[in-house]
């Protein structure tokens, strides 16, 4: 298993649904990671600051409002600009298949939809720490599922 990671779970934008984010946070906690949950309705700038101050190695973004296409790439870009290109970004929520390629292009390494097992997310964490998978790394690596 990957050693203990510091993982920020964030809810960007105007989206009040955080059941999924909390379940993921809990699963990561139970797997031995330190999880910082941002709470609801965060701006990209606030999320970057949290990830920076908390020295997160992973950033999980959750959105069920449909704004992922705008917010997620913006967050990826800000991370790179702030010298945080080594942070590994993954996403979850309601994200249609047709939107995913653009998110992978922005540097997101995994997208988890409804029904994903927590086991799969943990496997992703384990594998991602061993791959060139920081948000600004142009490796083309992405999570292929279990």
């Amino acid at each position: 298993m990957a050693g203990r990671q510091r993982i920020v779970i964030a809810k960007p934008g105007l989206d009040g649904h955080d059941r999924g984010a909390k379940v993921v946070a809990r699963a990561l906690r139970d797997a031995g990671h330190e999880v910082i949950y941002t709470g609801l309705r965060r701006t990209p700038e606030q999320i970057i600051m949290t990830a920076m101050d908390e020295d997160a190695s992973f950033l999980g973004l959750s959105s069920l409002s449909g704004a992922h296409g705008h917010l997620f790439p913006k967050i990826c870009k800000l991370l790179t600009e702030q010298g945080m290109g080594d942070v590994i970004v993954f996403a979850g929520g309601i994200i249609p298949e047709s939107d995913r390629e653009a998110l992978y292009d922005a540097g997101i390494r995994a997208i988890f939809g409804p029904g994903t097992s927590t086991e799969e997310i943990l496997s992703f964490i384990d594998e991602a720490v061993q791959k060139p998978s920081g948000v600004s790394v142009e490796s083309g690596w992405k999570w292929q599922g279990l």
Partner: protein, 285 residues
């Protein structure tokens, strides 16, 4: 826009580097040089409003001081993981200008017992060397007899609230006696002034009773006065003995925790390979 005590403020501070260095200290890859400074610990039971009070107080202080917050939450004794949730309450971090004057870091207790892990002292040392004027430590929610924060803090603020039991709770010995100041938070709720009264009359039986302040992090009532009083409060001499005691206990615990065979012995005892007494003998070699 640099109103800060030492003239440095957080401007020009490389927050990314600061965060990385604090991680190295936390992971014990780096031992910082000792730097003294003002450490104020906020302790009290879960849910009394420690985070929200700290948030309000930062609004008062951060116009003249640079502040770092180390907010401690418990590590799971089963998985070693932690959910660090104090940051959610910190509205001051969202302020475009004020937020930049504050550094907030969530800290898990990891292997330490007690409401404040010893590593917090090292983290604070480094923050002082980076020019922060004060470090606020939010302990794990702790009730009556948990006083580990005394080992590290210059001032101990005990946070209380209404509806927390009857007068006998205030008569019990423990944490309250070590308080340099007691805040009864949630003064907007019924029963708060009664609680303040009860604590007052209980503590007044001793000759060096701490100040008791009623405040509400929710409405802001009493916060200005509280902010002022905390800075004026002197750490009392009577608690010196307790502080030293906690320091020694912390030092001993660290020694034990960092023994190579510590986890191994626990495993051996829990699987029945060793009896509890045999385990103790191995650990006290």
């Amino acid at each position: 826009m640099n109103p800060v005590g030492n003239g440095r403020g957080c401007e020009g501070l490389n927050r990314r580097l600061l965060a990385k260095t604090l991680s190295e200290i936390e992971n014990r890859q780096l031992i910082p040089k000792r730097h003294e400074g003002l450490i104020i610990a906020f302790t009290g039971s879960p849910g009394v409003g420690k985070s929200c009070l700290i948030d309000r107080l930062i609004y008062e202080w951060s116009t003249t001081k640079t502040i770092a917050v180390l907010a401690v939450d418990p590590t799971s004794p089963l998985s070693g993981g932690a959910l660090l949730g104090d940051r959610i309450r910190m509205t001051v971090l969202d302020e475009p200008e004020l937020g930049k004057q504050v550094y907030f870091r969530s800290v898990a207790t990891r292997e330490s017992s007690g409401s404040v892990p010893s590593i917090v002292g090292d983290l604070a040392s480094h923050l002082f060397s980076e020019g922060f004027d004060m470090v606020l430590v939010e302990t794990v929610g702790a009730g009556q007899s948990e006083m580990r924060c005394a080992a590290l803090a210059n001032k101990i603020i005990v946070v209380e609230g209404p509806s927390r039991g009857d007068i006998i709770q205030a008569e019990k010995a423990g944490l309250l006696e070590l308080a340099d100041l007691v805040v009864v938070n949630k003064s907007d709720l019924p029963g708060a002034s009664k609680v303040a009264h009860e604590i007052q009359s209980s503590l007044n039986l001793t000759d060096t009773a701490p100040n008791i302040v009623l405040a509400s992090a929710q409405t802001g009532e009493g916060i200005e006065e509280l902010a002022e009083k905390i800075l004026l409060t002197k750490s009392s001499v009577k608690t010196n003995r307790a502080r030293i005691r906690e320091r020694i206990l912390m030092w001993h615990e660290n020694k034990l925790l960092h023994r190579e065979n510590f986890d191994y012995v626990i495993k051996q005892i829990s699987s029945g390979e060793l009896s509890f007494e045999e385990g103790l003998v191995i650990l006290s070699d």
